[in-house]
């Protein structure tokens, strides 16, 4: 019995019958000439409002599916955004800390150099007075930037060890001294040696020596600092080679000194 049924179905599936010739022609004409156009238009204009409970049901279903599907993605995206913000913040802080110029104390008001005729003593006194006046402000600024700038002596003046009676070496070697802030100020720096002698550091030199005291976040000297030190040591060697053990010239002679300095006007 099943075999006979299968057989019938098989035969039926393979059965084909050609439609009548006139019917085919009629359908073709209708398709070509849009006979049904008006009926399509009618269908287009037709509107049908679904029952409200059906709408609510669809919406509820959709919301449920959305929350189930998208919530993990949303949280992942949220964490990514937070991580990105944190990373950007850390990067900004790192750049800020690494910038040598930013690590210094904000410069104070520029002080004009002592006029000719004013003794070094008086210039020094006025400097000390200014330093005292600015000390509190500076120490406050320094405390705000504890990591980058060393503390400032409240007295306003500072004593540093005189290494080998050499001023440049004293400034270079004294890495733990708290006078980096002096070099970041736009004011004249005067080094007192004794009651008779003092040396003023020129603006160019002050700016150059600023780099000597820059440190990274770990408190180590920066590449720029090491480079500056190398240059200073090179200058010391050049100076010693030119003047020391040489009986035909001396740094105390204005002509010998000037010619040496102008001829070695390279870094």
């Amino acid at each position: 019995m099943p075999d006979s049924q299968n057989d019938i179905l098989k035969r039926l599936s393979q059965h084909e019958e050609k439609p009548p010739e006139f019917l085919f022609e009629k359908i073709l004409v209708e398709v070509r000439h849009g006979h049904k156009e008006n009926s399509w238009q009618d269908l287009k204009d037709h509107s049908f409002t679904p029952p409200p409970e059906l709408y609510q049901h669809i919406r509820q279903k959709w919301m449920q599916e959305r929350s189930q599907k998208r919530s993990p993605v949303f949280f992942i995206r949220k964490y990514r955004a937070i991580a990105a913000i944190l990373l950007a913040g850390m990067l900004a802080v790192a750049i800020y800390m690494l910038l040598p110029g930013k690590r210094a104390v904000e410069p104070l008001a520029e002080k004009k150099p002592a006029p000719a005729g004013q003794s070094i003593d008086s210039a020094r006194k006025s400097d000390s007075a200014t330093l005292n006046a600015k000390a509190d402000t500076l120490s406050r600024q320094v405390n705000r930037k504890k990591r980058s700038v060393p503390a400032w002596h409240s007295s306003g003046t500072q004593q540093i060890p005189f290494v080998n009676n050499d001023l440049l070496s004293s400034l270079m070697e004294c890495t733990n001294c708290n006078f980096a802030a002096y070099f970041t100020e736009k004011k004249r720096i005067i080094l007192d040696i004794d009651q008779y002698s003092a040396v003023a550091i020129s603006d160019k030199m002050r700016l150059f020596m600023q780099a000597l005291y820059t440190t990274n976040r770990r408190g180590k000297s920066t590449h720029k600092s090491r480079k500056t030190k190398r240059i200073l040591v090179r200058w010391q060697k050049a100076d010693a080679a030119y003047f020391d053990n040489e009986s035909s010239r001396t740094a105390l002679d204005p002509l010998d000194l000037t010619e040496f300095l102008i001829n070695n006007n390279k870094k």
Binding site: A116, I120, Q158, I160, L261, I262, N264, K267
Partner: protein, 223 residues
């Protein structure tokens, strides 16, 4: 308020008058052999914007200590501290010593007269020509302008005052021809120059240690 301002103005006027009279006093009675300390500021111009070794001398100072028959000329800069001592010897001659102080071990050495002459050979037969009508006031002293001509063609522009006796010729051969003390001098070389300007002249008792060779150096410097 007005009274207070008047008092301040009066104080400034009195201070100014006393300073002027002090300068004139030096000028009038300069024949004495009292101690004197003259400080010069050193300004170096390289003609270039870059920072070079010249900056280690720029802002330095030159100090001349004079006490009776002793003289010391000291150069003080970031790079170098060095002195020449002109001290009387037992045989009434002048002994010259050179001491580089900015060294781990200060080792003063005597400079023979022949070496000293060789060092200052360029100033032999140097002469000066006053520049008429050009003068300036330095530390209250009227200074005349002069050009010092060296035999090799180099020149030094100086402002000198006749109110103060010049140093002994042996101490500063460059200015030996000037009739007074040079309070400012400039040497122009290529695109640069160096200018030494007197910043103070003090007449006071000099600490005798200043004229000691291998003198005691300060252990600290003050910033």
């Amino acid at each position: 308020m007005l009274q207070k301002t008047f008092k301040i103005l009066l104080f400034i006027l009195v201070l100014q008058l006393s300073t002027n009279s002090n300068a004139q006093g030096f000028a009038a009675g300069d024949t004495s052999t009292e101690d004197m300390v003259i400080s010069y500021n050193i300004e170096i111009k390289t003609g270039s914007k870059r920072t070079s070794i010249a900056e280690t001398y720029n802002g330095g100072s030159k100090t001349v200590f004079i006490s009776k028959n002793k003289t010391r000329i000291r150069l003080l800069s970031l790079m170098r501290i060095e002195s020449f001592f002109f001290l009387p010897g037992a045989d009434s001659t002048i002994h010259i010593y050179q001491e580089k102080e900015s060294a781990a071990k200060s080792n003063p050495r005597q400079v023979s007269l022949s070496n000293w002459q060789r060092l200052n050979l360029k100033y032999d037969s140097a002469y000066y020509k006053p520049v008429a009508g050009e003068s300036k006031k330095i530390l209250g002293y009227n200074c005349k302008k002069a050009i010092i001509y060296l035999k090799d063609g180099r020149t030094i522009t100086a402002y000198y005052t006749e109110a103060i006796k010049p140093l002994r010729a042996i101490c500063e051969p460059a200015f030996a021809s000037l009739p007074g003390l040079a309070l400012e001098y400039t040497y122009n070389y290529k695109s640069g120059s160096s200018t030494y300007t007197a910043t103070s002249i003090k007449r006071e008792m000099i600490n005798p240690d200043i004229f000691l060779l291998k003198g005691k150096q300060p252990s600290h410097i003050r910033l």
